[in-house]
């Protein structure tokens, strides 16, 4: 098989898996996030999963025009980050976190506004946003160790959600940092390989979200 075709196939397989996983998460969130004892920050999850699955469908359906929707993608990225900030703020339940989230989204917004190339705006937004989100997630894990809650992490939906978010953004950060380098040194296939790894990471994080949704089933949180 031609190597380019193989790369395309792997990429499309990971994208298809990601799409499948997000649809499962969306369905589960619609079932479980409406339960009465579910924390408020979890109730908003179906909206986010709907937006995510919509973006996956758009990316799958119009791969040829992806380059033209970079600006739109960048806007979506900022909304995406803002949503995760709100989610993490809900998990922490503290006002300073909200202030921290607003302050941390600013550099991403500035890069987005200042960039001349649409690709730069996306990469800038992703790098700043991912860095901030990962920092917040590390703070969550630290809190978990310093003040352990009564609910064990393996039964806590927030733990699986934050693990999924951390995992994905940790992978995303270097991928978006180095992918332009691979393309500039004409190592497009290596760039594609790294990009498909990132897509598989997205699938794994969606699986962790599925685990979080199943925790909600018997949640007394």
């Amino acid at each position: 098989m031609d190597i380019t075709m193989l790369a395309q196939r792997l990429l499309s397989t990971s994208e298809l898996l990601a799409l499948l996983a997000i649809v499962v998460v969306l369905v589960l969130s619609l079932i479980y996030c409406r339960k009465r004892n579910v924390p408020p920050y979890m109730r908003r999850l179906p909206f986010y999963f709907f937006a995510s699955s919509l973006s996956e469908v758009v990316a799958e359906s119009f791969p040829g025009v992806a380059i033209y929707i970079f600006w739109g993608f960048a806007v979506f990225e900022n909304i995406y980050f803002f949503y995760f900030f709100r989610f993490l703020n809900g998990v922490f339940g503290q006002l300073p976190m909200r202030a921290y989230a607003v302050v941390s989204i600013l550099p991403s917004f500035i890069v987005f506004m200042a960039s001349r190339q649409p690709t730069d705006s996306v990469i800038g937004a992703v790098i700043f946003g991912s860095f901030t989100i990962v920092t917040l997630c590390i703070m969550y894990f630290r809190t978990l160790m310093v003040y352990p809650p009564t609910l064990a992490p393996e039964r806590d939906p927030a733990f699986w959600m934050v693990t999924g978010i951390t995992f994905y953004f940790l992978i995303r950060l270097p991928v978006f940092w180095f992918t332009p380098y691979f393309y500039t040194v004409r190592r497009q296939l290596l760039g594609d390989a790294v990009y498909s790894i990132q897509k598989f990471a997205l699938v794994i994080s969606y699986i962790l979200f599925i685990k979080a949704m199943t925790c909600l089933k018997n949640c007394t949180c």
């Binding site: 190597i3 064990a152 290596l190 790894i197 598989f200 990471a201």
Partner: protein, 261 residues
């Protein structure tokens, strides 16, 4: 780049990520459990301390106020006696006896709640005193023995062991319908064991340390086990319906003061 290399990079990358994630999740869960156990232990220690303080206050209150009031009432009765006719004097005498009994019960209760007996005489004497009081009821045959040389342990350890002993005796008196109560202290240079056995009804032990006895559920065993864990003790229980109960608390003796009784 060859087809194989491309596959290898992607596959290795994904496997490596999954491996890292698994290790991370397991580490987090293990660390959480360890931290949670520390937290629970600390919480238990604080709860026990509060209980001890409350018991000490109640003991003090019983001794100082209630005991004092009863003594006063007895004195007033004595003053009243010469002024009464024969029939009334007999009734006053009965009231005085009743007050004396109440006073004795309150004094015993005050002593059992107080840590004082442990602080002054140690666990060995405190247990012997409590068993002597139980013997006066003539309901039980008490067997008490100390194997080896008894060493004083630190105050907190002795108080916790004494509370376990009290809980066990309380359970026997309230539920066991026993005739013989055996208490043995096993002392060795490296460990100390408190054995309490009875020949009563026994019970069905459930996995959560609750006890099914006469169709009712009791949870005192969990408290005893928690108390034992505070002093790194091992709590064992043997029981069977109709065949009595044996409780054994074994603790390592790294914290003994080191003089003999």
């Amino acid at each position: 780049m060859s087809e194989k290399l491309y596959m290898l990079i992607t596959f290795t990358g994904v496997v490596f990520l999954i491996l890292c994630l698994t290790v991370f999740v397991y580490t987090m869960i293990i660390l959480y459990r360890r931290r949670q156990a520390e937290f629970e232990k600390e919480e238990l220690r604080i709860r026990m301390e509060v209980q001890e303080r409350t018991a000490e206050q109640i003991s003090q209150e019983l001794h100082d106020n209630v005991g004092h009031e009863i003594t006063l009432a007895r004195l007033q009765l004595k003053t009243l006696e010469p002024l009464l006719d024969q029939q009334a004097a007999v009734i006053a005498g009965q009231i005085a006896v009743s007050l004396t009994k109440t006073f004795d019960s309150i004094r015993d209760l005050s002593k059992s709640l107080s840590e004082g007996v442990i602080n002054t005489d140690g666990l060995n004497v405190a247990i012997r005193n409590q068993l002597d009081r139980l013997k006066t009821s003539r309901k039980y045959e008490i067997r008490y023995d100390v194997y080896g040389t008894y060493h004083y342990m630190d105050e907190k350890t002795e108080i916790i062991l004494y509370r376990i002993f009290q809980e066990a005796i309380n359970n026997i008196v309230r539920h066991a319908q026993a005739r013989v109560i055996t208490v043995i202290l096993e002392c060795s240079p490296r460990s100390f064991a408190l054995n309490i056995a009875d020949d009563g009804d026994g019970f069905i032990l459930t996995p959560k340390d609750t006890v099914q006895h006469s169709g009712k559920m009791f949870g005192g065993l969990a408290t005893m086990r928690e108390r034992a864990s505070l002093i790194k003790g091992e709590f064992e229980i043997e029981t069977q319906t109709g065949k009595g109960t044996k409780i054994k608390v074994t603790i390592p003796l790294s914290n003994t003061v080191g003089y003999d009784n």
